[in-house]
Point group: C2
Chain length 154, copies 2
Amino acid sequence: MQNSKIKPVTAADRTDGPEATYVLDVQVGFLLRRAAQRHLAIFFEHLPDMTSTQFAALAKLCEVGRISQNELGRRIAMDAATVKGVVDRLRARGFAETKKDPEDQRRLLVSPTGDGQMAFENYRGAAVKITRETLAPLNEDESEALLKLLSKLG
Amino acid sequence: MQNSKIKPVTAADRTDGPEATYVLDVQVGFLLRRAAQRHLAIFFEHLPDMTSTQFAALAKLCEVGRISQNELGRRIAMDAATVKGVVDRLRARGFAETKKDPEDQRRLLVSPTGDGQMAFENYRGAAVKITRETLAPLNEDESEALLKLLSKLG
DNA sequence: CGATATTCATTCGTATACAAATGGATTTTG
DNA sequence: CAAAATCCATTTGTATACGAATGAATATCG
């Protein structure tokens, strides 16, 4: 039996009226951060050799082959300053290489090395597992729904 | 009319078989990062004075009053190392204060200052707007569903 | 009671993340 | 064509994030 003295949370709690409450644990921003956090933890567990970000960049590089650094950033939703660091680290690991675009002196062309492509192939299975484990609390329909909603939000 | 030569993405594309493809743009991790990113951009637009993280900590502090630094971190899903930096910055802005727990010399008790509470009240409306704008691409039902799914995922 | 385990806060190192500013290269436009 | 606008990469500065290690304080347990 429910205690009738406990005031349930209603739509009114989400307005910005003067006596509105603000429950952090229910805000999209908080929930997004928490979910991303859990995902990263799972990622690290299965693939400690590489960060999620680096893997994303490598995956995109293997998908498109050769691309300018800025364009790569755009495709994987990364700031120019951020993508520079990521590419630097991929390069340091021998997974990517860069050279100036002869057709446009502004551009820095980035491509995956053979090692980078092999690494991607080797890690892809783990990445799939990571995705699966991240979505494990949800059933098939819920997973579909979540991906669709997140896509709309992006 | 659809071009019948374009192979649609099916469930098979999400398996880890030998010739499986890995489409980055459809992975939960990627979508979570993108959604969080957009949320942070909206946050910055409406509330450039404070980061989302700092606001979350302040909100929790105003909710619970006084709490040890580690416990605060636990409640807002923040690493001990991370929460230290956040509390330091809140303190530097005069929004929080700390003192050693006389009952347990290990603990550092954190509480919101008067200024901190006022700031929270002042910013709460903006925070509500931020949440609303983040969810703007979704209708009421979809928003509900997203929050529920994200909660399950956390 | 006393050894062991746990908790707490801090520090260090590394990796995102992004705003803002800069300088060089290319494109647009008047 | 030349000035203005845009694009590209880089740098700087600040703020999360977290693993790992450390030392101090408390709790647990034999």
